[in-house]
């Protein structure tokens, strides 16, 4: 034994040094972690164990102009699958209980492959209690499957309105990429129609519930007893300008027809009825839309997804004659004494343009009343293309109306530039103009444009941009916000309008083409049209307004392949006008009171 070195003072000091320095190191590190860096670690710790669970806010509901519900919400169960935990062997069982065809789940999972596999996918919305009961019973054997309570759209209020209401769906990846700050994957977003235009009001605020989870992401309980939770805020409820009665009549009339209806209040551009037929069932989109439904809708020959009211290209036919008349009257080309002798047609160059009657000498008023083609063949030549085109443009043709659901086309309004472009300079002749005079030829319009046009005639050239939104209930401030219409005036004299309006009155109430819809109470004025159609029978067109002396409603109705305007389109227009103007006495007194006050309000404004 080396006694001099055994436990020598220097060795003792080395051990003391090691113990004391390690102890100091620990104290310093504790001080650093628990005092200096404590906020950083606390944040980490909170992130670690707190998981937000989002709850979709119910979307705002739609009311009609008298506050009758059009589109509501109802609770529904949504079945979801989280791919990271899901066992594909379960697919047949789930498909069986859902009554889905084999491959249904695989398809949905494939469609959503782009998203993180830790995010739950909606497999089926609006599933029955039976499915939920089955799930609850077998929960332990169904890893990666869960369900949530959500609200879905309720369309059971007697109005379909598919093209105006539109639908919402889970945010598609491309839109998500652009709006990452506002949306999360799996959020719903209005995809078309009013659902899309007023998405920001309708969506409300997602609610967030914070829960504590363990390291395996299993929920243990609420975080801070729920004090940090944010409640969902429902979306703003919209009052639409739509009149439920008029809309219902329009939908009923078009049940077995194709075509479109746009009715509006000429004083302020409020859309009263809006229809593109055939419609599609919005309920199909409130569920998880399967590829089959998509294909079915897209391959349907009748093209139900296509919004005929704003997207179609129709020939206006005789309904366009007033444009020529107004242009010529306003610019002093003609007056009411100017007459054309109608012998059943008009020879221009080597082509003979027919009229449907032999009207003899006829002035502008009666030419409109009887829809004399001969008169208008000649009038457009007197006007010239540029004047005609300019006035047509004033009435909104060849441009988009600016309707608040978008999704419209500008139609085609021929002009000198247009023909130069299509045929080349000097390669087209005046003969091209002649058929434009009676609303045929290369002229194409949308029903929306026709409604705006007849509204302008009804209201002496003053109206507002067409729109669907009347007011909305701001949830945050709980104030009713009125939408201010964007008024405009196309600057045409009252005198000119008086002449044309009188002619339109005679169309219905004298010996004109729409005498079949004459009505003492409704005082309808309007114009029929028969639109040439390269495929099949002509389209039946009617545009009109009522009451004649104080127009409350202007309307354009097109029924595809239905023949003459007076036979099919005009009676539909009359029924819609009637539904709007003559509220049934059995109706809710509140609605009647509301209706009367809107009427009197408007009278005062006038």
């Amino acid at each position: 034994m080396n006694d001099s070195l055994f436990g020598s003072p220097i060795r003792r000091r080395i051990v003391y040094f090691i113990v004391i320095s390690f102890f100091s190191l620990c104290v310093l590190q504790l001080f650093n972690m628990q005092i200096i860096q404590q906020p950083r670690y606390s944040e980490k710790s909170a992130e670690n164990s707190v998981k937000p669970i989002y709850q979709m806010a119910p979307r705002g509901v739609f009311y009609d102009r008298f506050h009758r519900i059009l589109v509501g919400n109802k609770p529904s169960f949504t079945l979801r699958i989280t791919p990271s935990e899901y066992d594909k062997k379960l697919t047949p069982y789930i498909e069986a209980i859902l009554g889905a065809s084999p491959g249904y789940i695989d398809k949905i999972l494939k469609q959503n492959e782009l998203y993180s596999k830790f995010l739950p996918r909606r497999i089926a919305k609006d599933v029955s209690y039976k499915v939920i009961a089955w799930y609850e019973e077998n929960m332990s054997k169904l890893p990666g499957v869960d369900y949530v309570m959500e609200t879905r759209r309720d369309y059971s209020f007697g109005v379909m309105g598919s093209h105006m209401f539109g639908y919402s769906k889970e945010i598609p990846m491309d839109i998500f990429q652009q709006r990452k700050d506002e949306y999360s994957i799996g959020d719903e977003i209005g995809f078309n129609g009013i659902e899309k235009s007023y998405e920001d009001m309708l969506r409300g605020n997602k609610g967030t519930r914070y829960v504590l989870v363990d390291a395996k992401q299993k929920t243990i309980g609420p975080y801070k007893n729920g004090t940090e939770d944010q409640n969902t805020v429902k979306g703003d409820d919209l009052t639409l300008t739509i009149d439920k009665d008029a809309q219902q009549v329009a939908e009923e009339a078009f049940k077995d027809k194709r075509g479109a209806v746009v009715a509006l209040d000429p004083a302020n551009g409020e859309i009263l009825a809006f229809l593109s037929a055939p419609q599609y069932d919005l309920n199909d989109f409130a569920k998880v839309t399967s590829t089959e439904i998509w294909n079915q809708l897209n391959n349907d020959e009748e093209r139900p997804m296509f919004n005929r009211a704003t997207m179609s290209y129709y020939s206006p036919g005789s309904t366009f004659k007033m444009v020529s008349a107004i242009a010529a009257l306003e610019d002093g080309i003609i007056d009411t004494t100017f007459k054309v002798n109608c012998n059943g047609g008009f020879q221009f160059g080597d082509h003979y343009f027919k009229c449907l009657g032999h009207h003899g000498p006829i002035n502008v008023i009666h030419a409109i009343e009887h829809s004399c083609n001969t008169f208008f063949y000649q009038l457009i030549l007197k006007n010239g293309l540029d004047r005609w085109s300019l006035y047509a443009n004033k009435f909104g043709f060849g441009k988009k109306s600016g309707l608040d659901i978008g999704e419209e086309t500008a139609g085609i309004l021929p002009s000198t530039q247009y023909y130069d472009k299509v045929y080349g300079k000097g390669k087209w002749t005046k003969g091209f103009l002649v058929s434009l005079g009676i609303g045929q030829g290369e002229l194409n319009v949308t029903p929306m444009q026709l409604a705006e046009y007849i509204g302008l005639i009804a209201n002496y050239g003053k109206t507002a941009k067409p729109h669907f939104l009347k007011d909305y209930q701001d949830i945050k401030t709980s104030k009713l916000v009125n939408v201010k219409p964007q008024y405009y005036d196309i600057g045409i004299s009252r005198n000119t309008f008086d002449i044309v309006r009188k002619a339109l009155y005679l169309v219905v109430n004298a010996s004109g083409t729409a005498g079949n819809i004459r009505s003492q109470e409704l005082q309808i004025a309007g114009k029929t049209g028969t639109a040439q159609n390269t495929q099949g029978k002509e389209h039946s067109v009617f545009i009109g307004f009522a009451p004649y002396n104080n127009p409350k409603i202007a309307i354009a109705v097109i029924v595809e392949n239905a023949g003459h305007g007076n036979v099919i389109a005009a009676p539909i227009a009359r029924d819609i006008i009637k539904a709007y103007l003559q509220k049934d006495k059995k109706n809710d007194p509140k609605i009647l009171a509301g209706f009367n006050s809107t009427l009197s309000g408007k009278l005062n404004a006038n």
Partner: protein, 409 residues
């Protein structure tokens, strides 16, 4: 010499009281981390039982005649070796290591008892008459006494405990007066092994340093060659060992070398432990209110990560109290080593000090993120009967030595 019958003179409260405080902290932390746990909720009651058994064992050890320890050293040591071999054959595997015997619902861990055996054996052998600690043969035997259990424990495998045995062996040899050269002979292979794990270049540099040191000591050529060969072969040997290690152990060593490389594996626990402690702040989140603990972010927290329960729920204050208790025990053990009545007793106390300190340093260091993640219990606090029992027996031996420091035999 006069025997004082004052209690303080016969019983060292400076060690006993901090020990009891640590045990109480341990019970609190075990309760907090297990009471709502689906499988471990019975651990608190078991630990209370272990505490009772351990205190009885402590009292027995404290009351034994002092020479018992020296006399039974060889017996205890070889019994330990026997159990270490037996556990490799018939043991139960828990957490990937074959280190337990199952006895009626309780696990018995032979490596814990081997600590007792090895400390006593080393102390006894090194203080046996006419030992020369600077004789290469005597160093070799002392080294072998430590090395035998280390080898067996590495086979379980239990890296942490092997490291502790190495430290105990080196520390006892160091304290018994080995020369600087002797110390070099003992320590240099360890450094070479560590370097070999870091890569070939580090291994070569370490060997060059060994050669340089051999020139410095100016020993004869025979000694130089022997030492160099020992170093070289241990480097290769441990490289071989590394290759036969289980993947999870290799991973631990890699994580040890680069803790950030594996955030969800063994580094994950270390990170979560730091988050738990750091988020505790000055006063802690309150008992049973630490979300890291209550939400079970750290697996089996009641064993190796018990310290972060205290860090999270009792904050800086609680954490400091715990390490201060340890500090008092260590300083007190050093103090006692200088007035024990014989060299055997001194080496036993140094062994106990080294054992407790190395556990403490590795465990708390791991919890605080200053040492690598090596699975070792925190003495007196971590859940586990064998460890607590052996630690209390060791404290009993130390207090027995203290009680008898003035007695002549």
């Amino acid at each position: 010499m006069q025997i004082s019958y004052k209690l303080q003179d016969r019983f060292d409260f400076a060690i006993f009281i901090p020990t009891i405080i640590l045990i109480i902290f341990g019970l609190l932390a075990i309760f907090s981390s297990t009471y709502s746990h689906p499988t471990a909720h019975g651990n608190f009651q078991k630990q209370v039982f272990f505490v009772v058994v351990s205190i009885i064992a402590f009292l027995i050890t404290f009351s034994l005649p002092q020479r018992t320890f020296n006399v039974f050293a060889i017996g205890i040591y070889f019994a330990s070796l026997f159990f270490l071999v037996a556990v490799l054959i018939a043991g139960k595997t828990i957490f990937g290591a074959k280190a337990w015997f199952g006895i009626g619902g309780f696990g018995f861990q032979p490596s814990e008892f081997a600590k007792l055996g090895t400390i006593l054996m080393l102390a006894s052998w090194l203080t046996y008459k006419n030992r020369d600690i600077n004789n290469l043969k005597d160093i070799g035997v002392a080294f072998m006494i430590g090395f035998a259990p280390i080898m067996l424990i590495m086979l379980e495998p239990d890296t942490g405990t092997s490291i502790v045995f190495s430290i105990i062996t080196v520390a006892i040899i160091f304290w018994s007066g080995i020369s600087l050269f002797g110390m070099f002979v003992v320590i240099s292979p360890l450094i070479v092994v560590l370097a070999s794990m870091l890569g070939t270049i580090a291994f070569i540099i370490a060997l060059l340093l060994v050669v340089a040191a051999l020139f410095f000591f100016k020993k004869d050529i025979f000694n130089c060659v022997v030492v160099f060969v020992i170093n070289l072969s241990s480097g290769f040997f441990f490289d071989y060992i590394y290759k036969v290690l289980k993947p999870h152990q290799q991973k631990r060593i890699l994580t040890f070398l680069d803790p950030t490389s594996d955030p969800l594996g063994s580094g994950y626990n270390a990170l979560q432990a730091k988050v738990a402690i750091g988020s505790g702040g000055i006063l802690g989140k309150g008992y049973l209110h630490g979300n890291q603990t209550q939400l079970r972010f750290i697996p089996a927290q009641w064993t190796d990560f018990i310290y972060c329960v205290i860090g999270e729920e009792f904050g800086f204050i609680g954490s400091i109290i715990v390490i201060t208790c340890f500090f008092i025990i260590f300083i007190r053990l050093l103090k006692l080593s200088s007035n024990a009545k014989d060299q055997f007793s001194v080496l036993v106390i140094i062994g106990v000090l080294t054992l407790l300190f190395s556990h403490f340093a590795i465990n708390v260091g791991m919890n605080l993120g200053i040492t690598p993640v090596i699975g070792l219990p925190l003495p007196f606090l971590s859940y586990g009967g064998s460890s607590l029992l052996v630690n209390m027996i060791l404290i009993g031996i130390v207090l027995n030595i203290y009680k008898n420091r003035k007695l002549h035999t």
